[in-house]
Symmetry: C3
Subunit: 245 residues, 3 copies
Amino acid sequence: MFKAIIDVNLLKDSIESLSVLVDEARFRISPEGIAVRAVDPANVAMVSFDLPASAFDEFEADDSEIGMDLSKVTDILSVIDKKENIMMELDEMSQKILLKIGGLSYTISLLDPSTIRAEPKIPQLDLPAKVVLNGMDLRKAVRAAEKISDHMILGVENDLFYMEAEGDTDSVRLNMTRDQLIDLKPGDARSLFSLDYLSDIAKPASKSNEVTLLLGQDFPLMINFAIPNSDGKVGYLLAPRIESD
Amino acid sequence: MFKAIIDVNLLKDSIESLSVLVDEARFRISPEGIAVRAVDPANVAMVSFDLPASAFDEFEADDSEIGMDLSKVTDILSVIDKKENIMMELDEMSQKILLKIGGLSYTISLLDPSTIRAEPKIPQLDLPAKVVLNGMDLRKAVRAAEKISDHMILGVENDLFYMEAEGDTDSVRLNMTRDQLIDLKPGDARSLFSLDYLSDIAKPASKSNEVTLLLGQDFPLMINFAIPNSDGKVGYLLAPRIESD
Amino acid sequence: MFKAIIDVNLLKDSIESLSVLVDEARFRISPEGIAVRAVDPANVAMVSFDLPASAFDEFEADDSEIGMDLSKVTDILSVIDKKENIMMELDEMSQKILLKIGGLSYTISLLDPSTIRAEPKIPQLDLPAKVVLNGMDLRKAVRAAEKISDHMILGVENDLFYMEAEGDTDSVRLNMTRDQLIDLKPGDARSLFSLDYLSDIAKPASKSNEVTLLLGQDFPLMINFAIPNSDGKVGYLLAPRIESD
């Protein structure tokens, strides 16, 4: 059993945080809320998504697992422009979910969860450096870097956090000092990442004014933030690329 | 002889109500106003358009018939962004129309009306059910249905008007009760229509806050509304599709 | 040596006024400011651009010449949306330019000026008619003409300035009398121009509320205006086309 009411924008933000990495996802539903752990098809990035029962206006659920085509849900939500609530109700027998929004009733077939890639095990990493910044600053650096290169370095040098990209002939760098950041825990950190992924992740992250980055030396990057206006949280783990120079 | 002055937005709305079905149209001009009767190339939908002399700021005309390339006029009007009046004057000798808008003078060649498909005879139908609703509600249901299917059912069940679409795996339905409608005359009505056409027609209809639907059982749909801010009116007749189930 | 600070929007407008004609440009830098003279690849139009030191917030320069890929700079500036200042500094040794905008530092490789087409000699023409009008009026006529034809005639007849375009079947004309213009010096003038070029030039010109046109009989057109909010100025010289009728 699963029946819940949620703000449409919160649902849109939740789905977007997943759909930047995967097209289909297994949603683990429990009385505590909804959780997703997924890895992108190329095994470069993982997402860990948790929306607790408290993020919903109403929430009632037993333990269950459902599979959803995220692009289908995104498409359906794209025609809802008003700030409305959406009612969701699972029909376990027919494996369909009922969505009610502003008079419209959608009946959506679920995917068999067993056909969707299994949940990855999110590795526990001990990353030495921590940076907390506004999501818009991350996105600004990513968008600037995309004009120059396919990759971007994120690093910490003493009390300075930097993001830099080097193209064939040009380069761009954003330095952020402690007073331009929300928080900084210095540590030995400099790693190269694919801008394709950073760009996808920076989009949902830019809506949060407090994004936490955990970094190491040629180590994966963790990007954590709260889903705006909710108790939900999302975390990405992005594998580093090897610096060729 | 034909010479008239009209608000640009009213002319844009008028042309749009025709161009959703046909690329070229015969305009029947008389001292009473302008009328168009046209059928789309696939013979699925007809439009009946009437703009009386009173909808114009100035209007002076003898009986005549002119042919116009609607996409050309739409294209020309697309660069006019200000709320201005447009002066139209027919030169019968050269079969050209002169348009004057904000200092610009256009001279547009007309089409020989005899090269444009003849006016259809609009059948008189006795449709049992009548629904009056806000054009935005119609468009909302159509846009939602397009995400699911190529066809949509419109029907009346006692005091309920419904629009529903069924895809291969998903479905959507909008129920509207008497108090959510402007008016409802119940009757035996349920018919299936092509969403391509409904979507085209819903676009101009969405600008009207009072759209009248006349419906029957596997019968054509009539969609009537006033052209906003005018005494003009437009009506569509849309053939039903056969329900396969 | 070259080091300067300038408003981002002013830099964007400056680059746009050049990039409508050429992809790469030689910038002549001197203690007095920056100047560009360039001709488009098809030899149809020339641009003469002057941004004096006074247009900058700070300006310090020796004589030098640098080559720049305008589309690269446009691309980089496209992600800057805030009204900020940009700091530019030339590194003559490495032939790179450093741009600092809102925390971002770009290092851009310059082009070898000798690989860019040499500066044209701008001919001194004695054009009999002069028209001063709002840039938006020029753009309105150009956009209207583009719907009808590939060419547009600009001319002066006594106290009337006109722009007209003739298509295969349709035509458009904008007449402007002395009181609709900022200034008019009548003279014998009527020439045909390519709308491709006029459209490109009308875009930056539309931001200026005082554009000066100098015209003759089957003679080139000069279009001069100040770069908005600056002491900078830009002038185009556009070759006429031969009227076939």
